[in-house]
């Protein structure tokens, strides 16, 4: 048996499928995740004590069941470590906190499958309790059998906006309105997406018509969004596509603008990054099999580029097959070609989604008033960020961070970096890629110092 030590970070669809592929080839990978079980965000498993009512995975039920069934059947062949947070990666060593105990794991090959989170654009009132991300609203429903509120306003852009709205409406949660910042889709764009997207696009249309059938109003071309309330969410206000001021009472708001890749661990590994103009974010550079510039490190799933769950599973398998080929373990060329064909088709759909149907509304971030808080960890406002550019001359994100503390808090800029980048580019009148990206630093997630001091060898 091959004794190569392989660590897969992240047990969503990409990491799980990668580990399963390696296990099937007779290797015994370590698969590590912050959650107690596998599934990631999309196929997150609800704690058993909360029952299985409400079909948490919707149209994706069969895919979720297959991934979970395959994983459960292979548990003995995979060294799975749940409840384990990776906080640093050094050449040959992964540092993690596993169930309140510091551990280290040696590795010869690494697959990074760290997934994504909602991309946020702040707005007045966004730090009120009751304002959460779209993904958070979905997690509450799927994994906790709870809903964000009785009258929920869903705001943002991207496929998740309509999926979460549909899921909330079906769960008999009151959806007050769906507010989309994207303009109403032009027929030609929708047709492009439909041709490239196939069933994925049809699902989107189904969500929209199901919302309409329930009398839930969808507003497009929304700007000037804000939430009012004294310590809690009371009312949402916005400007509609015709420039008319609108408002609705509500008790919760879920917001998000597509997803942003979680690349902090890839950054700790000092991988090469490049700016992806379509996704408007910096991403690790990989070849078409997920190999990074470091020959021992591979990437897969949304942590490499936003592609969704199906693409994540395919790229997870493909990265594992590339790793096997690199170890001279043999990998099915026919399978690789089949995966590549599917991925090429998905890439066309993704291009239509990101570029045409749900463009990132950078103007929304750039128009924020000076007093709107951007960095919710440190309490840094849009005005303070603009000041760091206009008065102090910062025209790069890490300099603006040094001057204003934006992105210096415990989330390390995961939440605020997208908007801060837009504000800096706007104030410095430079292209967004010139603003650069925040550098990841260990620990990439907060860990109690007392635990790290006891860092033990496995």
């Amino acid at each position: 048996m091959n004794s190569t030590r392989i660590v897969v970070i992240g047990a969503g669809p990409a990491g799980t499928r990668a580990a399963l592929t390696l296990a099937r080839a007779g290797l015994r990978p370590t698969l590590i995740d912050e959650a107690p079980s596998n599934g990631g965000q999309i196929y997150r498993r609800r704690p058993q004590a909360l029952g299985d009512r409400g079909n948490p995975y919707g149209f994706e039920t069969r895919k979720a069941a297959r991934l979970h069934r395959d994983f459960d059947a292979a548990r003995d062949a995979i060294d799975f470590r749940g409840d384990a947070t990776v906080w640093d990666v050094k050449p040959g060593i992964v540092h993690a906190i596993e169930q309140n105990r510091a551990i280290t794991m040696g590795w010869d090959r690494l697959i990074i499958a760290t997934g994504a989170m909602d991309r946020t654009i702040p707005f007045p009132g966004w730090t009120l309790p009751g304002v959460i991300t779209l993904g958070g609203a979905q997690t509450l429903l799927k994994a906790q059998r709870s809903i964000a509120g009785s009258r929920v306003v869903l705001f943002g852009s991207g496929p998740l906006l309509y999926l979460v709205a549909y899921q909330y409406a079906r769960a008999a949660a009151g959806v007050a309105a769906v507010l989309d910042t994207s303009p109403r889709a032009r027929l030609s764009d929708a047709a492009t997406a439909a041709i490239a997207g196939g069933t994925a696009f049809l699902k989107g249309l189904y969500y929209v018509s199901a919302l309409a059938a329930r009398g839930i109003r969808i507003w497009t071309g929304v700007t000037g969004f804000a939430v009012d309330g004294d310590g809690t969410v009371k009312r949402a206000t916005w400007t509609d596509a015709q420039g008319v001021a609108r408002s609705l009472p509500c008790d919760a708001v879920a917001a998000g603008f597509n997803l942003v890749s979680q690349t902090q661990i890839a950054d700790l590994c000092e991988l090469q990054f490049a700016f992806n103009a379509l996704q408007r974010q910096w991403l690790p550079v990989v070849d078409d099999a997920g190999r990074s510039a470091n020959p021992a490190i591979y990437l897969a799933g949304d942590g490499a580029a936003i592609g969704g769950a199906d693409v994540a599973e395919l790229t997870g398998e493909r990265a594992a097959l590339a790793l096997l080929a690199d170890l001279q373990q043999g990998a099915s060329q026919r399978r690789i070609e089949r995966i590549n064909r599917k991925l090429r088709r998905s890439a066309r759909f993704r291009k239509a989604l990101d570029g045409r149907l749900f463009p990132f509304p950078e103007a929304l971030a750039r128009a924020l008033d000076d007093d709107v808080m951007i960095c919710r960890c440190e309490g840094i406002t849009a005005g303070e960020i603009r000041n760091s550019v206009e008065t102090l001359g910062a025209d790069e994100l890490n300099r603006a961070k040094a001057f204003s503390r934006v992105g210096m808090g415990r989330c390390q800029g995961r939440v605020c970096a997208a908007a801060a980048t837009e504000l800096i580019a706007d104030a410095a009148r430079c292209p967004i890629e010139r603003v650069g990206r925040l550098r990841g630093q260990a620990p990439v997630k907060p860990v109690p110092l007392a635990l790290i001091a006891g860092d033990a060898e496995r």
């Binding site: 704690p47 989170m117 009751g130 959460i132 509450l140 709870s146 309330g229 809690t232």
Partner: protein
């Protein structure tokens, strides 16, 4: 101690499950086994903690362990991320930053 914060928006979809009793800022609240500390706090009182740099309440944001907005402490000082920690019997949680 700040226990009279904003009211709750988060609601449970099912009733009648096995409950767990935990203490939050000196008050006993009931939660369902399998819920996170975040779900328990938002359901019981609608907020998680007070912001350390200003007079505002916070209720978490991403709910998936990324934004780090929902850190609280056990009474013995152990820090705990509310959205990724499941409730357990006899948990004694302190959400006030001044301790």
């Amino acid at each position: 101690m700040a226990v009279s914060g904003p009211t709750a928006g988060v609601k449970r979809l099912d009733g009648a499950r096995q409950t767990v009793a935990l203490t939050v800022d000196g008050e006993v609240i009931a939660a369902f086994r399998g819920e996170t500390v975040l779900t328990a706090l938002l359901t019981a009182r609608g907020w998680i903690r007070t912001f350390e740099f200003g007079a505002e309440y916070r209720g978490g944001f991403c709910l998936i362990g990324a934004c780090q907005d929902c850190w609280v402490r056990l009474k013995d000082g152990t820090p705990m991320r509310a959205c990724t920690t499941l409730v357990a019997d006899a948990m004694d949680i302190v959400t006030d930053e001044q301790h």
